[in-house]
């Protein structure tokens, strides 16, 4: 089960002050805060770790059909590799593991998370409205299954987790959708592993 999260780094800088008193302590463990403290680009590190947690949270929520919960400290980031333009790691929740891969530019960070790194995954990021990106997601899903896109709809279940319906019945849920600031992004796994 897949989770993703996109962060518009400029929007984040404009609207969220992570240096305010208590912010980092609410979200990050001591080890994670040390990573941020030691990073050459602290803003990037804050939002990289944030997007890892958000993506893993969504993957887990979908995986176990969980209600929403606000507890960022439940998810522990292990950043394994970070280089120009990308990062990878593992987010742990108790004994569960979610493998994350992030794409990093000067403008945005997009992270995907999955419980098994063999789950096939395609990522798409757009500088369009959320509605336009949802239409692209529906179109791709329709094309893959040879269905008319008009019969597919983007919906959310009672826990707020999105799925695609076909003729008003749940049809496809191996994807994740995220938007922030200028960006909308989705990850999907059309082929079954």
């Amino acid at each position: 089960m897949i989770g993703n999260d996109v962060v518009d780094l400029k929007a984040a800088a404009a609207e969220s002050d992570w240096s305010r008193k208590g912010f980092l302590e609410k979200v990050f463990s001591e080890e994670e805060r040390e990573l941020i403290c030691a990073a050459a680009d602290q803003h990037q590190m804050v939002w990289l770790l944030w997007s890892m947690k958000e993506a893993a949270y969504k993957a887990r929520q979908r995986h176990f059909n969980l209600p929403r919960r606000l507890n960022w400290q439940l998810l522990h980031c292990n950043l394994e590799e970070i280089s120009t333009g990308k990062a990878s790691g593992v987010v742990k929740v108790g004994a569960e593991k979610y493998f994350t891969a992030s794409g990093i530019t000067s403008e945005n960070i997009h992270t995907t998370a999955r419980p098994n790194s063999k789950i096939p995954l395609e990522n798409f990021i757009f500088e369009t409205s959320s509605a336009a990106a949802k239409n692209k997601l529906l179109q791709q899903t329709a094309d893959f299954h040879f269905l008319p896109v008009a019969d597919l709809h983007f919906r959310k279940d009672l826990h707020g987790v999105p799925y695609i319906s076909y003729k008003n019945a749940e049809f496809f849920n191996r994807f994740s959708f995220s938007d922030h600031g200028r960006y909308s992004a989705f990850s999907l796994s059309l082929r079954i592993s």
Binding site: F23, R69, L70
Partner: protein
């Protein structure tokens, strides 16, 4: 503090983070921070911190976990304030 006073304070706290103004006009005990007001998750951290400052309470992770609606926040604030007054 009475429930309606707390709701009044919460409305002021939440206002700068709201993305759905129509839902904000109907701000009530059932209003959901993300579903109705479309507040992004990073701003939920700000709201928790603002509530702590405004009401002079500490919200631990366990209490924070279930803070999805205005009613949830009211419940948490009232519980912490009782502890405070003792």
């Amino acid at each position: 503090m009475e429930t309606n006073e707390i709701i009044y304070c919460l409305k002021k706290i939440v206002k700068p983070y709201v993305q759905n103004d129509l839902a904000f006009q109907d701000f009530n005990i059932k209003t959901d921070f993300t579903r109705d007001l479309e507040i992004n998750s990073a701003h939920l951290v700000d709201i928790v911190l603002d509530v702590e400052d405004e009401f002079n309470i500490a919200i631990d992770n366990q209490a924070m976990e279930n803070m999805m609606t205005v009613g949830d926040a009211v419940k948490i604030i009232k519980k912490k304030q009782v502890n405070h007054d003792r």
